[in-house]
């Protein structure tokens, strides 16, 4: 029974076409469609009207200035934390590192709400302690500075991770050699470590900038009331005031965002060229400098920062959620859980949003896993020369701001799908597909790391045992990558469940998500209900991060994004 098979490789014939189809549908098709519409409307002269609108340039300016100052804030915060926690003998590093990661994982609209609850004349918290500014004084966060500050808080962890990875990858002997040649700790830091860690700084700053440019939740809540529009919120407002030129306009606007992001990502790629910091990841044995008498001061500073950027806003958020109404002072007499009753029991809208977000996130997390296990297997095992292109194409949708992707899917599905003639526009399916595209890279990365780590002979032994591809997948491969697959599911679930940017453009009646609901509640003045919902979201985020943290020991390196 000679059964000829093509080549000695272990993949079934259908795997390559499958992977290509997936990448085509989730990456090439939407982005290609966006590019086509953008270029076409630019040629038809439709763009000239948009481009001559001073509002657009005002918005570009606001986007750049908020993102720039946000980047500076992120570099100061994240850089300081990374240097102190990585290089010095600070106590409680693991806990500090974990807490510092939290603001990034908390959805931006929740961050914005909690900071609003902490400042301004209506803050329940400030009123409770009698520090609220007089009524009628402005909310200081409704400004360029406020937006930039929150961008900084939200994205500081990106700089932290990038710089920390660079510091951990520093050649130890360079530091030791400098010390042996008589340099003091301070000189080693100044002459060896800081120059060598500059790429980490620069790369972190570049990703933080890209993340700021694409942020929607923060400028939507802080900017729109003050008439400040960044490019993502400008798209949102143009889309809300739907007109005949909307599609052309938003495709050009998201093209602008995409260009800004690509510039940022290219800067990152350039400074990191030749350094795969995810692979090097030494055992974290960077030289530890002694702070001596200064240690308590540094620790105080770190904990104070955590208190200011994390604890205070969350306390304010809880306080707002317990106040009977926005602006009413919180005291033992006025504390009420009415807001929680409202969202958990009374309002149908919350139930629908919960159901939507949970089912979308679960479907995305598990559905993507099926796709990414196969794609990851292909990427690691294949000798095809397309592997590089395919993994790059898989990364792009997640690297681009969600708003760009949302616009791409609107353009793609605004008309009924050709051939079948069904329209998914306005249904939950368009959100699901956009999630698949957007979080593909999130789901793929842990799986790919796990496959990389797998000894190929484990699979080869199964082949010689007579097991075909499906059999091997079920008996050998999937059980062996299961921990990473679990992490991938939790990560995708966590991100999808808190996501606002994509669904803000794609939702319609009956398909609102948790993110959209929080935003709409705040927009319609139900601040304490929005705060209560946010508290639940924060609890969920923390629970899942703790779960991942507990799994981390059994996972390949690089799977849990905040551990290095």
């Amino acid at each position: 029974m000679t059964r000829p098979q093509n080549r000695g490789n272990s993949q079934p014939r259908w795997l390559f076409p499958f992977v290509v189809t997936v990448i085509f549908c989730l990456s090439v098709l939407p982005l290609g469609r966006l590019a086509a519409t953008g270029i076409m409307s630019a040629f038809r002269g439709g763009a000239s009207e948009l481009l001559s609108d001073p509002g657009l340039w005002r918005s570009v300016y606001d986007t750049l200035s908020t993102s720039f100052f946000g980047m500076i804030a992120a570099v100061l915060l994240g850089g300081g934390f990374a240097l102190l926690l990585t290089l010095f003998d600070i106590r409680g590093k693991a806990l500090l590192g974990f807490l510092f990661m939290l603001p990034t994982m908390i959805p931006p609209q929740v961050t914005a709400l909690s900071w609003i609850g902490m400042t301004g004349p209506s803050s329940a918290l400030l009123k409770a302690i009698g520090l609220a500014p007089p009524l009628g004084s402005p909310q200081p966060l409704y400004s360029i500075g406020g937006i930039a500050l929150l961008y900084g808080v939200q994205n500081a962890a990106l700089v932290y991770l990038s710089l920390r990875a660079g510091l951990l990858a520093l050649p130890r002997d360079a530091v030791e050699a400098a010390r042996l040649s008589g340099a003091s700790s301070f000189q080693v830091l100044k002459d060896v470590i800081l120059p060598l860690s500059l790429p980490g700084f620069a790369a972190g700053a570049a990703i933080a900038f890209v993340s700021c440019v694409g942020n929607f939740g923060i400028p939507a809540i802080l900017g729109i009331p003050a008439g400040i529009y960044t490019l993502p919120t400008l798209i949102y407002s143009k889309f809300a005031a739907f007109g005949p030129r909307t599609f052309a306009d938003i495709s050009v606007l998201s093209g602008l965002i995409a260009i800004l992001s690509v510039i940022g990502l290219m800067v990152e790629a350039r400074v990191l060229r030749g350094r795969d910091y995810r692979v090097i990841g030494l055992s974290g044995q960077v030289a530890v400098f002694r702070l001596g008498a200064w240690r308590w001061l540094a620790e105080l500073l770190l904990w104070l920062t955590i208190f200011l950027i994390l604890a205070m806003p969350l306390i304010a958020l809880v306080a707002s959620s317990l106040a009977p109404a926005y602006g009413v002072p919180l005291s033992p007499a006025t504390v009420t859980i009415k807001a929680y009753e409202e969202i958990l029991v009374r309002q149908a809208a919350t139930r629908i949003a919960f159901t939507n977000s949970l089912s979308l996130s679960l479907a995305t997390a598990f559905g993507l896993l099926v796709v990414t296990v196969l794609t990851g297997y292909f990427l690691v095992r294949s000798k095809s020369r397309f592997v590089g292109v395919i993994s790059a194409l898989a990364e792009i949708p997640y690297a681009l701001p969600g708003i760009v992707l949302a616009v791409a899917f609107i353009l793609l599905f605004a008309a009924p799908i050709p051939v079948i003639g069904i329209s998914i526009y306005g249904t939950i399916w368009i959100i699901l597909i956009a999630y698949f595209s957007s979080f593909f890279a999130v789901s793929l990365k842990p799986v790919v790391s796990a496959f990389r780590q797998l000894d190929p002979s484990l699979e080869e032994a199964a082949r010689l045992s007579g097991a075909g591809f499906t059999r091997r997948l079920a008996d050998i491969l999937v059980p062996l990558v299961a921990p990473a697959a679990g992490a991938s599911v939790i990560l995708v679930f966590l991100i999808a469940c808190n996501e606002l940017t994509v669904s803000a453009l794609l939702w319609s009646a009956g398909t609102q998500t948790l993110g959209v609901l929080i935003y709409n509640l705040d927009d319609s003045g139900s601040f304490n209900i929005a705060a209560a919902l946010s508290v639940l979201v924060v609890i969920m985020v923390i629970a899942m991060m703790v779960a991942l943290e507990l799994m981390a020991k059994r996972l390949p390196k690089g799977v849990v994004p905040w551990r290095s």
């Binding site: 029974m1 000679t2 059964r3 000829p4 098979q5 080549r7 000695g8 272990s10 000798k383 000894d455 002979s457 484990l458 080869e460 032994a461 199964a462 082949r463 010689l464 045992s465 007579g466 097991a467 075909g468 059999r471 008996d475 050998i476 059980p479 062996l480």
Partner: protein, 342 residues
């Protein structure tokens, strides 16, 4: 079962221009135990992986009896070859118990229940691991893991068993024990075995046939005794035994086994002329007053004897043993009782 035939087998990997395996032809008789011997990087693993079906030949073919397993255009996947392999890294599945590891090939073949249990028990008994059936691979020592891997090969009665440097990760004491286990395994299973190693002592001790490879080419295939006594060419001569290779004027005639009078003749020959490689093994070198003059370069005490490195007047070196201590720089005379013309 049938004999395994490699017919002008070649493999060039896509990137590197040089062939990793170059025109290798070889027949392994049914039930034979062939050792594939050669220095690291010479293409042994590549040959083995082509036999297993993990790599496709760039040229030539592999046959098992009448059946073509692979050529440059088509190949039977490893799933359908009824072969088994012991990997250098053992390749035990960490999420399965020892019994599940051993029983997996049976499970894939749809054998279940009492029959599978019995076969697994037998295979584990053959490698003396009956009592470890429920352990996880992680709880076993290196030697035990290797034996589990062997039991997994035993369980399906494969046509061909492939072993890729299976002892490389074990310490010397365990190696001897495992060599015994392999020999037993071969006798019991009657499978055709191909054993890759870079250790000539291991190859000699285990195999019924030894194939010597270098830089992708097959140099010689013969029984261990034959390879030892009649190596072909400089490379094989240098690889097998601890002989020294001297470049000396060609003796007259085509006799290859040279005795002392012939060797003495060519050692004394000062004329320019064609030269030949002559293999001289240390046990054939005798220290005797009437012999050729040499200088002692180094002396190593090995316990039962002294191992010497000696220099001929023209600077070429050879090795010899001595029962009595000698000093570096001493001048001695030696007789070469027998030498082999390569």
């Amino acid at each position: 079962m049938a004999k395994l035939i490699l017919n002008r087998l070649s493999k060039t990997f896509d990137l590197g221009g040089r062939a990793a395996v170059n025109d290798v032809s070889l027949t392994v008789r049914e039930g034979g135990f062939l050792a594939l011997l050669g220095p690291s990087g010479c293409g042994k693993t590549t040959v083995l992986r082509m036999i297993a079906g993990f790599e496709q030949p760039s040229d030539g073919s592999i046959l098992l009896g009448e059946r073509v397993l692979a050529d440059a255009s088509e190949m039977v996947g490893p799933e359908h070859r009824n072969m088994a392999m012991v990997f250098q890294s053992y390749a035990l599945w960490p999420h399965m118990s020892v019994a599940e590891n051993v029983g997996y090939p049976l499970k894939v073949r749809g054998i279940s229940g009492e029959k599978r249990e019995r076969k697994v028990r037998e295979a584990l008994a053959a490698v003396h691991l009956e009592t470890h059936a429920d352990r996880r691979p992680a709880d076993l020592s290196g030697g035990q893991r290797q034996r589990v891997a062997l039991a997994r090969c035993l369980v399906t009665e494969p046509d061909v068993v492939l072993l890729d440097e299976p002892l490389a990760n074990l310490d010397r004491h365990l190696r001897q024990e495992m060599e015994e286990t392999f020999r037993e395994f071969h006798a019991r299973s009657g499978a055709t075995m191909i054993y890759v190693t870079h250790d000539q002592a291991e190859a000699m001790a285990l195999a019924t046939d030894v194939a010597v490879m270098s830089e992708g080419k097959l140099l010689q295939v013969a029984t261990p005794e034959e390879i030892y006594a009649r190596p072909e060419g400089r490379l094989v001569g240098g690889l097998v035994g601890q002989g020294a290779i001297l470049s000396l004027p060609s003796p007259i005639g085509d006799k290859r086994l040279l005795d002392w009078p012939v060797v003495q003749g060519i050692l004394g020959n000062r004329q320019e002329g064609p030269r030949t490689d002559i293999l001289v093994r240390p046990q054939d070198v005798e220290i005797a007053a009437e012999g050729a003059a040499v200088t002692v370069l180094s002396v190593l005490f090995e316990g039962e004897r002294y191992a010497l490195r000696l220099a001929l007047p023209d600077g070429q070196t050879l090795r010899a043993f001595s029962r009595h201590p000698v000093k570096v720089g001493d001048r001695l005379a030696i007789v070469i009782r027998s030498a082999w013309r390569l």
